[in-house]
């Protein structure tokens, strides 16, 4: 019988290894799987490469993982946000690497990685510093830049409702990168406020089919990052 539900966040991330590549869903705080990230901090894996659109805020969630020196490299499109101080400081000191990727290219690289497409051509970044040194090709009189798909050892995402087969739906703009990262993770872990039996989510409304999800963790009342940050909270 298929049941992907795991008892808690700690068990869900127990096998993350040093040097792993990890995709973490979210655009700013919207969709950030904060409880899974905190479990990863407790778990202790280090030298991680993390793929997220941003670099977190305050000293909770992704910013706390970076602050704990567990991340050696970030792949993102926008590493600075309001209340984002942890990454900039480490970056200026040369203590963390950055691969800056245009946001749409980042999304497509993740989708490609999860879809068996090794690379693709895009007009984005042509003639800019982010396109420099990349293979180019003219197709139908327009020049394009070659970009490579990316995959991850683990993906951590947040949904609103998941069933025990891993089928999932999201909440508003918290969906963002999650469905793409779910496809590109070797082990995809979703935290959901509600976990239900198969059949309880209308199949017509499912956004992420369960085949892309390996582990489901129920986090009934996930923390809200901006509230933790304004309260001055830190993790651990």
């Amino acid at each position: 019988m298929i049941n992907k539900q795991i008892a808690n966040a700690a068990e869900a991330v127990a096998d993350v290894f040093d040097g792993a590549t990890i995709m973490i869903g979210g655009f700013g705080e919207a969709g950030s799987p904060i409880e899974l990230i905190h479990a990863l901090i407790d778990q202790g894996a280090s030298n991680l490469t993390v793929i997220n659109n941003n670099t977190g805020s305050g000293e909770v969630g992704l910013a706390a993982l970076i602050k704990a020196k567990r991340v050696s490299k970030m792949i993102c499109s926008y590493p600075k946000t309001a209340n984002s101080t942890v990454f900039p400081e480490l970056y200026r000191n040369g203590d963390i690497k950055l691969e800056l990727v245009p946001q749409g290219t980042l999304a497509e690289r993740i989708r490609a990685g999860g879809s068996g497409i090794p690379a693709f051509y895009t007009p984005t970044s042509l003639g800019t510093p982010l396109g420099e040194g990349k293979e180019c090709r003219t197709i139908n009189d327009r020049e394009y830049v070659l970009e490579y798909g990316i995959t991850a050892d683990f993906t951590l995402i947040k949904g609103r409702v998941a069933d025990t087969h891993g089928n999932a739906i999201y909440n508003k703009t918290a969906r963002n990168f999650a469905p793409l990262m779910a496809m590109a993770g070797n082990i995809t872990i979703i935290q959901a406020a509600q976990v239900v039996a198969p059949g309880e989510i209308d199949p017509e409304t499912i956004i992420t089919p369960g085949i892309f999800v390996n582990r489901v963790v129920k986090i009934p009342e996930p923390a809200i990052e901006s509230q933790l940050v304004s309260a001055g909270e830190t993790y651990p």
Partner: protein, 217 residues
């Protein structure tokens, strides 16, 4: 001579957006355009983090942390709105499905090159977001910006000295002093702000400004 305020610039630009347009507004002055939809027209706003049909800022305290715009500020969803993931969002952008994108600028060159993501300063944290995808894919790119920097240097230049966002991508520029079109021959003046004369704008523009024949100067 006094140019337009930020609100007046946004209002001026909004007059040129056709009814029914799908529009992406960048962060800063571009966001103000949404306040000035001309009577009788409807625009649908796209935000690249996964929403079409973005509505105004909610009342204080009514915001939802999972309903935000590309600037990570709370927004609302209007009737007819749709949520989608990032690959679909950038398919809308790159696939040429959006009619217009309004962006801020550090510099625009006479060839329509745009620099708006980095000054290239050694201690700056480089951050590009979706700007390079937007300029590569959206049908029309309008820039809205002060005509000059705070130091009085021209932002409209022969060629950009800051790192580029895209090459030959800008169609029009709306500033406090004028509306300017980018043509194969260079910058062309479309309209002067009332009370501003041609010489004043040319003096503050880093490349020659062409004039439409018969345009009053």
């Amino acid at each position: 001579m006094t140019g337009l305020t930020r609100d007046e610039m946004a209002k001026r630009l909004a007059q040129d957006i056709p009814d029914g347009s799908y529009v992406n507004l960048g962060i800063g002055i571009p966001e103000l355009v949404a306040k000035f939809v001309p009577e009788g027209r409807e625009f649908i706003y796209h935000t690249e983090n996964g929403l079409l049909g973005m509505g105004p800022t909610p009342e204080e305290g009514e915001g939802d942390p999972e309903l935000i715009n590309a600037g990570k500020k709370h927004v609302t969803a209007l009737p007819g709105a749709a949520y989608f993931h990032h690959a679909d969002s950038f398919a809308m952008i790159r696939g040429g499905h959006l009619d217009l994108c309004v962006l801020g600028a550090l510099q625009v060159s006479k060839d329509g090159d745009l620099a708006n993501w980095s000054t290239g300063a050694p201690d700056a944290i480089p951050a590009v977001g979706g700007a390079m995808d937007l300029v590569a894919g959206v049908k029309s790119i309008y820039v809205i910006t002060q005509h000059c920097t705070k130091n009085g240097d021209p932002k409209l230049v022969p060629s950009c000295t800051y790192p580029l966002t895209g090459c030959g991508v800008v169609d029009r520029i709306y500033t406090d002093l004028a509306v300017i079109e980018v043509t194969p021959e260079g910058f062309r003046l479309i309209e002067l702000t009332p009370g501003i004369d041609f010489a004043y704008v040319q003096e503050r523009t880093g490349a020659p400004l062409l004039q439409v024949e018969g345009h009053a100067t």
